[in-house]
């Protein structure tokens, strides 16, 4: 069985977000990059399935050379080989097209990734890829169990969850609690250095959008503190000033 895990290379969740060059560029100075937290769940699930079934796990990222340490970390966690599609990821359709072009020739039994990346929050690459490859895509997936040639999954829906069954191959956008995040051990880190990391050219893709200026949300004007002995004041403010009750 062959599993593809697509990971994003994103700022750590505690990063302060700032922009430079007239708000045209994300300021990466002092920012630590990590495997996307949702993608980390997908990777952990793939490694669990590898232990269960002997599957091979390929990990993939669309990005420039600076994402290779992130791919190496995924190899240390347990992926067998890595693929970097060399391109600046500019929009979801471009990224999905590049992954689709690669995956077409590889006949993966399943493609796992996070439900969304935490930088641009598109949440659509799994859906796009499914439509491009004509494979069923499901997201967000909370549990996944193989059952012969198909998989049983728990899909979160607004206000609840569903148990669904889908035949392989399929694509799943993962979230907790599908598997426990894995921390690479020393042996993993050592073996990761010699695992294959292939670089594929990712130029020549039609663009569907043109990303422009960044901006930050309006900052709060400052908290109004209310005496706990005078709680009626809060009710009054919520009613007459904020007008939310």
């Amino acid at each position: 069985m062959k599993i593809l895990v697509c990971i994003s290379h994103v700022p750590d969740t505690t990063s302060r977000i700032n922009f430079i060059d007239n708000n045209q560029k994300f300021d990466t100075s002092g920012v630590q990059f990590i495997i996307g937290p949702y993608d980390d769940y997908a990777l952990a699930k793939a490694v669990d399935l590898k232990e269960e079934t002997g599957a091979t796990v390929t990990v993939l990222n669309v990005g420039r050379a600076e994402t290779e340490p992130t791919l190496r970390k995924a190899l240390a966690i347990g992926a067998d080989n890595a693929v970097r599609i060399d391109a600046d990821p500019l929009d979801s359709i471009q990224v999905a097209t590049l992954i689709s072009n690669y995956a077409k020739g590889e006949s993966f039994d399943m493609i796992l990734m996070g439900r969304e990346s935490i930088d641009y929050n598109g949440g659509v690459v799994h859906g796009l890829l499914g439509e491009m490859l004509n494979i069923t895509s499901i997201s967000p997936v909370m549990t996944l169990k193989l059952n012969g040639g198909s998989a049983e999954m728990t899909r979160e829906i607004e206000g609840g969850k569903e148990q669904v069954e889908v035949a392989m191959p399929f694509i799943a956008g993962c979230q907790e609690p599908i598997a426990e995040w894995k921390i690479p051990n020393m042996r993993g880190i050592m073996t990761a250095r010699s695992k294959p990391l292939d670089v594929i050219d990712g130029s020549a893709v039609d663009m569907h959008s043109d990303a422009g200026e960044y901006s930050l949300p309006k900052t709060k004007s400052g908290v109004k503190l209310i005496d706990p002995e005078n709680i009626g004041e809060l009710v009054n403010l919520l009613k007459n000033e904020a007008k939310v009750i």
Partner: protein
């Protein structure tokens, strides 16, 4: 020309975010065709969409759409768009909505943007403002293809009535097959207000010391007709169910009122709540970082403050 809006219902009620999508579309084009698929809809509820600017409502109530097969529903939407010569699809960003948006974008070779926070700026191109970095920033994106798919974020527009109830029409989409997903069981959370849709949210964290102390949180939520939520540590410790977890890797909420009780305000939690209109923080630690993001704060013991707040709200009702 016309514009198509995909509409979702929950418990036979049209979702508020779908009403917002209809209203959003009516600000772009006068001909707004709302399309509903599957058996989860109530016909009179769909007719109400006229109030928010829909000029037509089309319903295909075939239950093959109920399994959440994105490609199948997308084919039906794409067909309507082609027949009606619509170049733009608007829908609400949601787990299903975003996936559907993706499939339609591939089928129609459209530009695609999710988490759109405002009406487009069409003065030069078709520029939408997307919420990115989990609410910590925005980016303007020009949608350059002729066809466009726009998934809006909750509260992207303030809806006001601009029409009246209309009659809905049935249609039967010409799509192949029954879908590839078999739904074996559905488990809906009973009696609660849907968290992503909620206008008021009462949320609590580790400061409450244990799941046995959630009674007052639930009572406060009930008085305010609010949904209940929690921080990640609380759902990790199974004090509360996972679907209540608000934050970077949980549910993102954008209610009118968010009350945080005993939550320090780690940046990961703030990422899930930072598009709330008004934030109230109750915490005994005056240094809690959440106070910097709050509109109103009470420095005090939650076990004393919350019961008093419940009494004050009851007296006000």
């Amino acid at each position: 020309m016309s514009i198509v809006v995909f509409v979702e219902s929950s418990d036979k009620k049209v979702k508020k975010t779908s009403m917002e999508a209809v209203f959003y579309a009516s600000k772009i084009d006068n001909n707004v065709i709302a399309v509903a698929l599957g058996s989860a809809h109530d016909e009179s509820q769909l007719g109400e969409l006229g109030k928010w600017g829909a000029t037509d409502v089309l319903l295909d109530s075939a239950n093959k759409f109920d399994s959440g097969d994105l490609s199948l529903s997308a084919s039906a939407i794409s067909e309507v768009m082609k027949t009606k010569n619509a170049k733009i699809l608007v829908l609400a960003t949601s787990p299903f909505g975003s996936g559907l948006a993706a499939c339609v974008a591939v089928q129609l070779n459209a530009s695609l943007a999710t988490n759109v926070a405002e009406l487009p700026d069409t003065s030069s191109g078709f520029v939408v403002k997307r919420s990115i970095f989990t609410g910590k920033a925005f980016q303007n994106v020009n949608l350059t293809n002729e066809n466009k798919v726009i998934a809006i974020k909750k509260n992207a527009v303030d809806v006001v009535e601009n029409g009246s109830v209309i009659n809905i029409s049935s249609f039967s989409a010409e799509v192949d097959g029954e879908g590839k997903i078999k739904v074996k069981d559905v488990d809906m959370i009973q009696g609660d207000i849907l968290l992503p849709e909620a206008e008021r949210v009462v949320s609590a964290g580790r400061g409450l010391k244990g799941p046995e102390n959630w009674g007052m949180v639930e009572e406060l939520a009930s008085v305010l007709k609010a949904a209940t939520a929690c921080s990640k540590p609380v759902s990790d410790m199974d004090w509360r169910p996972h679907h209540e977890h608000v934050g970077q890797t949980g549910i993102k909420v954008s209610p009118q009122l968010y009350i945080a009780i005993g939550i320090s305000g780690a940046i990961q939690h703030l990422a899930g709540v930072n598009s709330s209109k008004t934030i109230v923080v109750i915490n005994k630690d005056p240094e809690a970082p959440f106070f910097k993001e709050a509109d109103y704060g009470i420095v005090g013991d939650a076990f004393e403050v919350v019961p008093k707040l419940i009494e004050a709200l009851k007296a006000n009702n």
